[in-house]
C-alpha cells in the first residue's frame, strides 16, 4: 500500500500507546453484529503500471471524432500553461481557504477571478463560482423567489434544456410555478406574453440561446418597468461576450451561466464552472462563496472569505443555499485563461469563432441546407440537411456533425476547426446530396 506510511512495528507501538491489543479493538464501539465478517467483494489491489495500462486501453477509442458538438460544452484550445500551473500542489491539494494567513494564493486568485468576471460580464459583482451553469441558473431563480417572495418565474424555452430540467428538479423542493416563454419564428424569446403576468419573481433569458441565437435582451427591462421582477441573463458560451454585449449592458440583475470555455476540457461534461454575477443590491442574498479584500494585523493588504453568514455552515436551514464548495481549481484555470488573452485576445478569439461558424453556415446554405432560425447566431446554429442526404456518411469520415434535435442538427464551430475541416464537412454534404 504505497499511500500508507506505517511499518508493522510502528502499528504495534502505536497500539501499545493507545492501550489496545489489536486494530480490531479500535472498532469496539461498533456493535459486532453490524461489522462485516467478509471483506469487500472488490478486485485485488493493482500496481501503478497495471492501472495506467488499463485506463490507456479503455480510453483509447473515445473522443477521437472530429466533433461539431456544443450545446453547453465547447471544444476550445487550452494553453499548456493552464494544466501546468493548476497541477501545482499548492493549488491542487489545498482546502477551502478558511485560514487566510496560509491561503493567500487561492484567495488572491479568486479575488482576481471575481474582478475579471464582473468586468467581463458588466456586472457589479461575481461570486467565486458555482458547480456549473445549470445550478448557477437555478440558484439565480431561487434568489429571485426569495427576494420577491413570489414563486412564479418565467423562463425562456431558448434556455439549454438541461438547465430547464435542473430547474424542474429543484422546483419540486421549492414549489415553483414555472411559466415557459416560447420562441418566435426568428428564434428569439416571445416577450409579449410577459406583460400580462403579475407578480413574477424573475424572467430568465439565455443569450446566445440554446440554438445560438442572439436575443434582444434590451427589451426585457422596459417590459418589467417599475416591477421588482428580476432579469436573469443566462449563458452557456461565455466567449460570446468577446463579440456581443454582456448581461450587464442590458441591465440584468443576475448573470448566471457556464465558463467551461475558459480553459476547461470537455471531460464528458464535468467539472464545469458555474458563473454567478449580480447587482450589488443582492449582495446579502447571493449563494456561494465570496472573497473580500481586507488587511492583516500589520496593515498589509490581505484577502479572506467574507459575508459567510449567508452560508449553510452558519445560517443552516435559513442559508441562501446549501452549497458548501465552489469550483476552486476551475477558477484558477479560468483566471489564467482570461489573463493570457486579455480583453483584446478575447475579442479576437470570439471573432474567429464567429467567422468560422458563419463560414460553415453559409456553405451549408449554399448546398441546400435550411436554417431553422434566420437570426444572428454565435458559434451554434440549427440546420436541416437536404432530405436526399444520408447522414451516415459522416460516420465514415469520423465526424460527429452536431447534435440531432428533431429533424435538425445543432452545429457548433469554434476556433479548433479550420477551413480544411469545414471544407471537408461541406464536401461530404455536396457528395451526399
Amino acid at each position: 500500500m504505497r499511500y500508507l506510511s506505517h511499518s508493522s512495528n510502528e502499528i504495534e507501538y502505536m497500539l501499545g500507546i493507545i492501550g489496545k491489543k489489536s486494530i480490531d479493538e479500535l472498532f469496539d464501539s461498533i456493535p459486532k453484529s453490524l461489522q462485516l465478517e467478509k471483506g469487500l467483494n472488490l478486485p485485488k489491489p493493482i500496481s501503478e503500471w497495471e492501472l495506467e495500462s488499463y485506463f490507456n486501453k479503455i480510453s483509447k477509442d473515445d473522443g477521437l471524432q472530429k466533433s461539431y458538438l456544443g450545446g453547453g460544452i465547447y471544444n476550445h484550445f487550452i494553453p499548456s500553461i493552464i494544466p501546468y500551473l493548476t497541477s501545482r500542489s499548492e493549488f491542487l491539494t489545498s482546502y477551502t481557504p478558511y485560514q487566510p494567513e496560509i491561503s493567500q494564493g487561492t484567495l488572491q486568485t479568486q479575488f482576481e477571478f471575481q474582478t475579471y468576471i464582473s468586468t467581463y460580464l458588466g456586472m457589479d459583482y461575481s461570486n467565486s463560482s458555482m458547480y456549473d451553469g445549470a445550478t448557477s441558473f437555478v440558484e439565480g431563480v431561487l434568489l429571485s423567489v426569495r427576494v420577491n417572495k413570489s414563486k412564479k418565474v418565467a423562463v425562456s424555452m431558448g434556455i439549454n434544456p438541461h438547465y430547464l430540467d435542473v430547474l424542474k428538479t429543484y422546483s419540486q423542493g421549492a414549489d415553483l410555478e414555472i411559466i415557459y416563454l416560447e420562441l418566435n419564428k426568428d428564434g428569439k424569446t416571445d416577450l409579449d406574453s410577459i406583460e400580462n403576468i403579475s407578480e413574477l419573481a424573475s424572467i430568465s433569458i439565455q443569450s446566445p440561446n440554446y440554438f445560438g441565437v442572439i436575443e434582444d435582451q434590451e427589451k426585457v427591462k422596459p417590459i418589467i418597468g417599475s416591477n421588482c421582477t428580476l432579469f436573469i441573463s443566462v449563458f452557456t458560451e461565455i466567449l460570446s461576450f468577446g463579440l456581443f454585449q454582456p448581461p450587464g449592458f442590458y441591465n440584468a440583475d443576475l448573470a448566471c451561466g457556464e465558463a467551461q470555455s475558459f480553459g476547461l476540457s470537455q471531460n464528458y461534461g464535468g467539472p464545469c464552472l458555474g458563473i454567478f454575477g449580480f447587482k450589488k443590491d443582492f449582495l446579502r442574498a447571493v449563494p456561494g462563496r465570496l472573497v473580500g479584500q481586507t488587511i492583516d494585523k500589520n496593515g498589509n493588504r490581505s484577502f479572506s472569505l467574507t459575508l459567510a453568514t449567508r452560508e449553510q455552515h452558519i445560517r443552516r436551514e435559513k442559508a441562501t443555499s446549501n452549497i458548501c464548495s465552489n469550483q476552486g481549481l476551475c477558477v484558477v484555470s479560468a483566471t489564467i485563461y482570461m489573463s493570457l488573452l486579455g480583453g483584446e485576445g478575447l475579442k479576437r478569439l470570439a471573432s474567429i469563432n464567429f467567422s468560422n461558424s458563419e463560414y460553415l453556415k453559409k456553405g451549408l446554405i449554399n448546398l441546400g441546407c435550411s436554417l431553422k432560425y434566420e437570426s444572428e447566431t454565435f458559434n451554434e446554429f440549427l440546420v436541416k440537411f437536404p432530405k436526399t442526404f444520408d447522414m451516415n456518411l459522416f460516420k465514415k469520415y469520423k465526424i460527429i456533425p452536431g447534435y440531432k434535435i428533431d429533424e435538425y442538427y445543432l452545429i457548433t464551430v469554434t476556433e479548433v476547426l479550420t477551413k480544411i475541416d469545414m471544407d471537408e464537412f461541406l464536401l461530404i454534404v455536396r457528395e451526399g446530396v
Binding site: A308, T309, I314
Partner: protein, 126 residues
C-alpha cells in the same frame, strides 16, 4: 463582567428595554454583544411592522455568526435606528445607547413582566 444598568428591563433572549413615556426602546445587552463578537451588519425591520412577543424582528451578524433579535413583547415597530446600518460596531462599543428599535406595545403590562437587572444577571451567571 457584563453590566446590566438598573434602569432597564431585560428579556430572556438578552434584549434590553427602556420605557420612554408610552414608547419602548429596545437594544441588546452588553452580555449579548460580547457573546456575538464584532458586529458587522444589522438587519433592521420596516417601520410599521407588527410582531408578536418572541418573534424575530431582525438579525445581528458578526463575521462568523448570526443571531436573531426578538420582540420582548407584542407591538408595532415605530422607529428603527438607521445609524446602525453604517456603524454596526456601535452596538459593541455602546450597547446601552445604541438602541435598535422603538415599539408601541400592545399591552402596557408586558413591560413589567420582563426581568430586572438583578434577575437578568442571574440568568447569565446561572
Amino acid at each position: 463582567m457584563s453590566n446590566f444598568p438598573q434602569d432597564l428591563m431585560y428579556a430572556k433572549t438578552h434584549e434590553w428595554v427602556k420605557k420612554d413615556g408610552d414608547v419602548y426602546i429596545v437594544g441588546i445587552s452588553d452580555f449579548a454583544q460580547s457573546q456575538l463578537g464584532d458586529i458587522v451588519y444589522v438587519d433592521l425591520p420596516g417601520v410599521g411592522t407588527k410582531l408578536e412577543s418572541g418573534d424575530s424582528f431582525g438579525e445581528l451578524e458578526s463575521s462568523k455568526a448570526v443571531s436573531e433579535i426578538n420582540m420582548p413583547f407584542s407591538g408595532e415597530i415605530i422607529a428603527v435606528n438607521n445609524e446602525l446600518t453604517d456603524s454596526p460596531e456601535l452596538i459593541n462599543s455602546e450597547p446601552y445607547s445604541s438602541w435598535i428599535i422603538k415599539i408601541k406595545a400592545d399591552s402596557e403590562d408586558d413591560f413589567n413582566k420582563l426581568l430586572n437587572s438583578d434577575e437578568a444577571k442571574k440568568i447569565i451567571e446561572g
